[in-house]
Amino acid sequence: MPLLRCPRKSLWLGLGETDVPGLPGRGDNNNGSRLGGLLYYMETREMCFEAKRLFRLALGPVLMLMSAAALAAGAEVSQVNMRPGVTEVGKEIYDLHMIILWICTIIGAGVFGVMFYSIIYHRKSKGVVPATFHESTKVEIAWTIVPFFILIGMAVPATSTLLNIYDNDDADMDVLITGYQWKWKYEYLNENGENVTFFSNLRTPQNEIYNTESKGEHYLLEVDEPLVLPKDTKVRFLVTANDVIHSWWVPDLAVKKDAIPGFINEAWTRTSQEGIYRGQCAELCGKDHGFMPIVVNVVSQGEYDEWLSGKQAEAAEIKELMAQTFTLDELMERGKSVYDRSCLACHGANGEGGLGNAIANSAVATGELGEHLEIGINGVPGTAMQAFGGQMNDVDMAAVITYQRNAFGNNMGDMVQPIDVYNHKKG
């Protein structure tokens, strides 16, 4: 279309008098109060210019619509548009979004079309004599009332979709989601036994973030423990936070809910398709706001049941492990992975510190074991050092304290066993 040249000659298609003085061969009738001279005459040459201009203007939204079409045809995740996602609510939201976008595009094309027409034809350089009209009550009323009705038209589907989003009742299962600085905790509420609880940390290594390793496919959108949900099940989310305000957002589920410390918010979802869906924290929550992603793994009911009992077995296993004694090597290996997951962000990959104190050669890590354990388990009130005792099992705590005391050149030779952690907590 942009390559099409507009015809040199014009076909006069108009009816009646012209309203635009200054063009050769036309009458000088100046009924000044009539807008929309466009409606009274158009020549093919002008139409051509107009169409070209409108095309260029519409390019952006057209790209979006094309991507929507490509998406429907099964293309990759859209990079220019919202996705309908895998829930009914998500599809409703997507449809609403597209309708509003279309309406805005059409109105915009019309409005800008009129403006660009003016820019081209109502120029002083063409010798145009300006009109003098400057008001019209009829027209003002019209363009107040008509948009009002268009808005009502938009508000109706919007209201129904919103009511749908708020329908949190009759869920088949509940998950308590807690936002922490800077990770998520998921707790599956179980009426009949203990809740399955775990933390979900960013899994992307620091090397990828700091550009010494090439970035993986799911850079910044991968976690160690995803939230696993069964398909076709209404899941109710109870969302809260441990410290500051966070927000849990998964675009493909069309769920976003603020996590507010001290309060519980509700949201729900019912997914129709198995798959892995990724999201991020959507409320500024401190330095690693961009580094606490969400991964939801939707599986069949059978796989979910299997996973859940696996998790419960793991919890039981940890209980058994808590009574065991480990070698230094075993503790160091486990401790390093716990350290990388839970301590590195603030204390540095080499224990050099950062937001948190250095661990290498620190008074705590080379000092009394009891005090070191105390800090790890109960944190330091009034600082950013959280009480990790409530966030990791005793085996992990024993391992990470052992690791801290022996890595980074500390070489204390100490070993902490899970039972030591348990006893410390008991007092």
Partner: protein
């Protein structure tokens, strides 16, 4: 008594002690431009880090300081003072008054600003760093978890709030009491109307911001629990109080811009503003409505559905008077005799791009869709369209339009037009792609992002640098004009310009309208 109207005093003292509205206007404009450069520098750091995925230049904690200061400096240091400067220069001249109603308070309103922004910028060097909780500073990130510099931040907000309140009182008192005889309210230029309404908004909501930061101060230092659940408070209360200020604030930013464009478009269309009365009523409606829509910034916070619906309907309503204004501007152009000097280019740019921002605003007002847009780059794109392509373009147009009247020299038109086109391209390249990444799922206020957002982020950074660079051209043009531009001596610098200021000599003398002008009763508004 003798004639005490000599020219301006000499030296630094002139500027420190001036009570002349032209001098104070000039100082506001230069100060705001310096803040624009400072805020722009912070933006360059942000866009440089976001040029590629991965952390290359700064640490995440510092990045958050950059986004926070960028917002604070641009909103409170660049945009708001720039329009106050315009108000100072133009309002007395437009209504036929010799100066502002309270010239000494006018001096204070300005001079408390530079030290305050120095203090705010200095927080970068304090222990714990500058504020890093976003320009919207939600609790408890900004209370319990804030760095020590938060107290200086609170103090700064109080001072610049005071400056705005004093300035607004001055504007209202001037417009209500000092119009030349015969200049009725409905004969005032629209720029004066929009500033009058803006000033009322400011007097009403700046104290609410002061209240919010005072409650923060009390929570941080005096053991209260306004925003802490532990003591029976609620972090969401902060959001309600902040946005009760925050929403009228964005109209405070844009209404004067509407006023500027309403002066420039008629001038370069050589045709009166279409629908003057409707424009006044539309502006007043927007101002009233702005008080009842604040929670559309909080759709995901867990409000009861009735509240969400109310705020959605009220917000959608604002599209009506805003649309009326856009239609009126276009009708002003329709069948005029248009010419496209730089002020007109920026005004038309405003018209197109602000309208696009208005459309995305309408999309955002739809609460269910907003669950996908909220806190994503879609919002960032929206507000940059309305604030940069809206307010900043309008401000730029204003400078080109009135600079010749202020200093008696004409700017370089070719350089002006080049500035426009580079700004236009740079701005759209910077911000249009942000709609895409926002819709595709990129949250805001993150220093690093997933790989699927990389291409558009790179584009956006390039655009931002281009836009930033073009402002240097603007600065050069303005300085060169003042120092050695072609002299202009016609009162009506622009053949289509209407208004009392265009009846004055060029450059405008230090004291003007010491005797009120005669307003022709038959002559309409300008």
């Amino acid at each position: 008594m003798g004639d005490h109207h000599h020219g301006p005093a000499k030296g630094l003292g002139r500027w420190l002690f001036t009570t002349n509205h032209k001098d104070i206007g000039t100082m506001y404009l230069w100060f705001s431009f310096a803040m624009f450069i400072l805020g722009g520098f912070f933006a360059m750091v942000i866009r440089a880090e976001l040029f590629q995925p991965g952390m290359q230049l700064v640490e995440p904690a510092f990045f958050n300081q950059m986004t926070t200061l960028h917002g604070l400096v641009m909103v409170f240091g660049a945009i708001m003072p720039s329009f106050v400067g315009l108000a100072n220069w133009l309002i007395p001249m437009m209504i036929g008054a010799p100066d502002m109603a309270l010239p000494r308070m006018n001096n204070w309103s300005f001079w408390i600003l530079p030290p305050t922004f120095l203090l705010l910028a200095s927080t970068l060097f304090m222990e714990g760093g500058a504020p890093a909780f976003g320009w919207t500073f939600y609790a408890p990130l900004s209370t319990t978890y804030a760095p020590p510099s938060v107290t200086f931040f609170i103090f700064s907000v109080h001072v610049l709030g005071l400056s705005s309140i004093m300035g607004s009182i001055n504007i209202i008192a001037t417009v209500m009491n000092m119009r030349a005889p015969g200049m009725t309210y409905m004969k005032m230029p629209l720029f004066v109307w929009t500033w009058l309404i803006t000033a009322f908004l400011l007097v009403a909501v700046m104290p609410v911001l002061a209240g919010a930061v005072t409650m923060m101060l009390m929570d941080i230092h005096f053991g209260t629990s306004f925003f802490s659940a532990a003591g029976g408070g609620d972090p969401v209360l902060f959001q309600h109080v902040f946005w009760f200020f925050g929403h009228p604030e964005v109209y405070i930013i844009i209404l004067p811009a509407f006023g500027v464009v309403s002066q420039i478009i008629p001038a370069f269309s050589r045709k009166p503003l279409f629908g003057y009365d409707s424009m006044v009523y539309a502006t007043a409606s927007i101002a009233f409505l702005s008080f009842i829509v604040w929670a559309h910034h909080m759709y995901t916070v867990g409000m009861p559905v009735a509240g969400e619906l109310f705020f959605m309907y009220a917000t959608m309503l604002i599209a009506v008077p805003t649309g009326v204004k856009v239609f009126n501007w276009i009708s002003t152009m329709w069948r005029g005799a248009l010419s496209f000097e730089t002020p007109m280019l920026f005004s038309i740019g405003f018209l197109v791009l602000f309208t696009i921002g208005g459309f995305t605003g309408l999309m955002l007002s739809i609460a269910p869709s907003d669950f996908q847009y909220h806190d994503s780059y879609f919002v960032v794109a929206h507000f940059h369209y309305v604030m940069v392509a809206g307010a900043v373009f309008s401000m730029t147009a204003a400078v080109y339009f009135w600079l010749p009247k202020w200093c008696g020299k004409m700017y370089n038109e070719t350089m002006g037009k080049t500035h426009f086109w580079i700004s236009f391209v740079g701005f759209n390249l910077a911000f249009f792609p942000q709609h895409f990444v926002g819709l595709a799922g990129m949250p805001r206020r993150i220093p690093d992002y997933a790989l699927q957002f990389a291409d558009f982020n790179m584009m956006s950074s390039i655009g931002a640098f281009i836009y930033g660079a073009s402002q240097i051209m603007f600065l050069y043009n303005v300085i060169a004009t003042i120092v050695s531009g072609t002299p202009v001596s016609d009162e009506k610098v622009w053949d289509g310009a209407e208004g009392l200021e265009w009846t004055l000599p060029t450059p405008a003398p230090y004291h003007t309208f010491e005797t009120p002008p005669k307003i022709d009763p038959a002559h309409a508004h300008s």
